[in-house]
Structures are given as C-alpha cells and as structure tokens.
Symmetry: C2
Amino acid sequence: MSSLHRIILLAHGSSDRRWCQTFEQLAAPTVTAVPGSVIAYMELSSPSMNDEIARAAADGCREVTVLPLFLAAGRHLRKDVPGMIAELEKQYPLTIRLAPPIGESPQLGIAIRSVVEQTLASTRSRKDA
Amino acid sequence: MSSLHRIILLAHGSSDRRWCQTFEQLAAPTVTAVPGSVIAYMELSSPSMNDEIARAAADGCREVTVLPLFLAAGRHLRKDVPGMIAELEKQYPLTIRLAPPIGESPQLGIAIRSVVEQTLASTRSRKDA
C-alpha cells in the first residue's frame, strides 16, 4: 500500500471497554498485516474518526478509505457517517472514500459458516468424549 | 448435524428491509450448507427467535444453539437475550445454548483482513487502468 493511502476500520464505539476490546481483536489481523491501517470509532471511544483523519492529513496522506466494521448499513452509515466525512473533507486536503460495511462482503458469510461448522464439531466432540 | 440440534443465527432486526436483506445474505452460506440452520430476529423483524424456538420444539428438537450475528456483546447479548432464552426454556422442552457473538471468532478478523486486501487491490487496479 502506498503510504499516501490510509485504511480506517470504523467501529461504532461504546462506553463498555469490553465491547471495544472485541473490535480491537477483530481489527488486529488487518492492522498487523496492512501498513497504515488503523481502527477508529464513530463516537464514545477513542481514537475518533476525526483524530485519525487529522493524523492522516498530518502524515501527508492524500487518500483515506473508511471501512465500517458494521454488519449492515443503518442510519449511521446511510446518513451520519457520510455527513461526518463531508465535513472532514472540507477541513483536510484529502479524499475520503466510504466503503460498504464489512457485512456486505461475501467473505463474512463464509466466515460465519466456518464458525457454525466449528461450533457443531465441538458440540459433537463433547458428546463423544 | 443431528436433526435434534438446531442452529439459530440471531440478528437484531430492523424496520428497514434492506438491513434484513444484508443479514439474510450473511446467513445464506450457513443456511445452504448446514441442515436445520435458520435465521431469526431478536425484535422488529420476522421470524422472531420465539417463532423459531417454537418450531424447533414442534419438530422434536431437543437442543438449540443460538449464534448471535453481532460483532460484539453489548446489553442485548449480556442481558436481554439471556433473559429471553430463560423464558423460552420454561415454555419448551429443549435446551438452548447461547454462543458468543460471531465477532469474537478469529475467523471474522481474518475475513475482515481479506476484505481490506481486496479493497486495496481494486483501488490499485483502478489507478493502473
């Protein structure tokens, strides 16, 4: 990845620290493998999306892709986040692209099937033990 | 899977039909591959969890695993859903196990990394075109 392109994995945010830890774990394989990728929160938790856009601009990034760690698009992704992005693009000299929520990618449905198959296998092995 | 064990993929539910369609697509690989697996909703959409538990009992199932299609556990999964399950277990002669939300499974973080890598590859190929 060019250092001029940053990926922000955007989670909703929560006052419950355990909730955020789950999202940090979800983001970890990406953050480890993809240089310049970070997690940020829409509200209630830090770093905020604003923080990370400001940092990207300070680092000289020209392009940011925001990938929502949401399973489906509701009001936040149809209205609130696009509004926040429009404001940030006025403040900073970079282009921000909002990707579809991760739940719209076929990879997620396949991962869910894998979790179900593993759950069933562990249920069977408990019974066989 | 024994026909006596049913898997309910539990989504939150929404009055927005598009939101539910995303969850139906997320559930599709599982529902297609795993006999007896179904999607159900906590509220606002149908079939409800109650509907599917009633149907499982009518079909003679003795064991149900509820796998939440949620990325992390908040109030719904820590309090509301366990309460609903406790009530359903009083009404029906079956055991209901609540699994952790899908976002706590390592497969999901790996799927997210795959989505990011695909997003970056498509960005690069657009620039190269």
